[in-house]
């Protein structure tokens, strides 16, 4: 399967050409495109909500331990996280909701304030696509086994930015968990 980033790029380039052809000056067409954008967001929300429902129904209370590696350059020690699969999934869903709302907010500003119309088209396809490619949706909606790529904790999608930030993948080996767990990092006041 082709990496989602490449397909995204292809879609973006393709849609940019298509959006040139669409007469966005025509109010009728514009309204149609707007409706499409809203519809796509509604579908995404529905998919997320349904996934969330499944997660809550499963309520997998298996303990999940991992060590969050600090960002490159920071002097912080690796942070141990002890949680459950259920809680981890819910947190992931929360961040998905958050990012979707952020996207809508950005789009709202761009469209309503700056009167950009072109991004509407791309923004109604890309987020929809990535919603179905999300790890949580894959596991719970499509029932894929949580192994390999889908093993929790998820690795951050390899991309241009993550290479720069250099956040190492969360460690899950027994040794580093045990070392970090008893370090007593909790309750520090400066955070």
């Amino acid at each position: 399967m082709v990496s989602p980033q490449i397909t995204n790029l292809v879609i973006i380039l393709g849609m940019m050409q298509v959006s040139k052809k669409i007469p966005l000056d025509d109010p009728n067409t514009l309204n149609l495109v707007r409706a499409g954008y809203l519809l796509s967001n509604l579908i995404i929300i529905a998919v997320y909500a349904y996934t969330h429902l499944i997660i809550n129904k499963k309520k997998d209370m298996t303990t999940l331990k991992y060590v969050e590696q600090p960002q490159m350059g920071s002097t912080e020690e690796p942070k141990p996280i002890t949680t459950t699969v259920h809680k981890y999934d819910v947190d992931q869903m929360k961040s998905l909701y958050k990012s979707q709302l952020m996207g809508i907010g950005m789009m709202g500003v761009m469209h309503l304030y700056f009167k950009y119309t072109n991004p509407l088209l791309i923004q109604s396809i890309i987020p929809l696509k990535s919603a179905f490619e999300g790890n949580e949706v894959k596991i719970h909606l499509f029932g894929k086994a949580a192994v390999g790529e889908l093993r929790r904790p998820f690795k951050a999608a390899a991309g241009f930015m993550s290479a720069l930030q250099g956040g190492a993948a969360p460690a899950q080996d027994k040794k580093s968990i045990e070392a970090a767990e008893k370090a007593g990092r909790g309750g520090s006041k400066e955070e």
């Binding site: 209370m61 002890t82 949680t83 809680k87 767990e181 008893k182 309750g187 520090s188």
Partner: protein, 453 residues
Amino acid sequence: MAAIFNSLFGGSKPSASPVPAGDSDFADFAGAPDPSPTPAISIPTVASFTGAGALPTGSSAIPYTKWYNVHERYSLSDFKQEGVILGILLVIIAIHLYGTSSNRKRAKAWITAHATTLQDEFALVGFGGRKVPTEDEIASGGLAKTLATDSLQLPVDLLKEKSPQEFSTYATGRLNVAFLDVNLTLLKRYSPLTLAFEYGASLFFDSMPAPVERVEAILYPFDGREALTVPGQLPGAHELRKDTKSSYDGFVWAIVNKETMKQLRGERYDVSITSTKDHPKLPNWATVMSESSEITEFLLTPELIKAVESAGELLDHIIITDQPIDQPSKLDETIPKKRIYLSMRLPSSGDYTTLLPVFQYFIRLTDTLVQSAHFRPEVLRKVRTTRDDTIRKLQKADDEEKAEEIKLEREKVKKQKRDAELKGLNAKAQKKYLEKEKEKEMKRAQKKQSQRG
């Protein structure tokens, strides 16, 4: 704004010309028929009614205008705005009253459910002061029982309302326990807007937890320091009690609801020095945080497991600790202080029967600890290492700070000496001295450079 003022004060428009004075400045009124006599004259005469010879007011002939009758000047429709404001105010007051009273009801339900347990265990519960029991009462058995029966009717004494959403109670006077603090935190039912905002914020910010109703109890064991905490003991009382010393080994151990364990480990220092391990005997939503598996085996009694199971997922945590909640930054803060924490969410149904066993067990936990929480040295060595490491780390930081201070002091003295020397010399010698100093510094810098290179 103007519109508001207009509607507030502008009701007089339709009334007749207000002051029918014959003021020629007003061109509008110049043409109007002059009503006579002018009130400017008539008012003083009316005002002199203290005098004996008051004029008959009726005959003073004040012209009848709407201006003088409030009920005719305004109609109800002029007060629409006030009506709306008053309505909103009433709604707000009603919500507030409803919220505070339902919170009070909930708190009362909690204390009525728990008062018997508390009074069975403690000599003093609440803020009503201690009723001195008579000898007959003691003789007839169970001082707790007599107290329980006669003061259950006044939960006002037992429970203090700190704010409309916070209630607290206090208990003391028990073997092995110095005192017990219980805090109830309820929803802000009296302010639905705040409540909605808190819910909304909790969706977006991890640092803001969603508002929940919970009861948090902190129990402070005596830990062998009865003489220090209880005033007015008879001399020698402490020696008499030596055989039943109420101290036990310090450690951190907790049963934690898995939903909150991530947050708990981040927020509290004491549980973050433990390791989390699921226990097969516990229900799958709970886990144990312990410093040693032997301590776990000792504390995880069948009775406790049963109590935890009965409380269900309403139980947040039970923590037995001797470490501070905040990460110690000074050596003083590492001194162990033993406490036992219990946190439970309140059931929305208000049925506390399932929660009572945990609460009871929590109070009686000190007895078990005092009796047999004295572990083998091998177990304690592990526990002590963690604490010693922290102490050593802090000691090191402390020493470094002290060294820095000494260094600064030394430099200061040096500079003072140099200044004094310089002062005592004449101009020529001063110049020479400064040159010499410069040379010395240059040499030192060169030496450093060559060393580095």
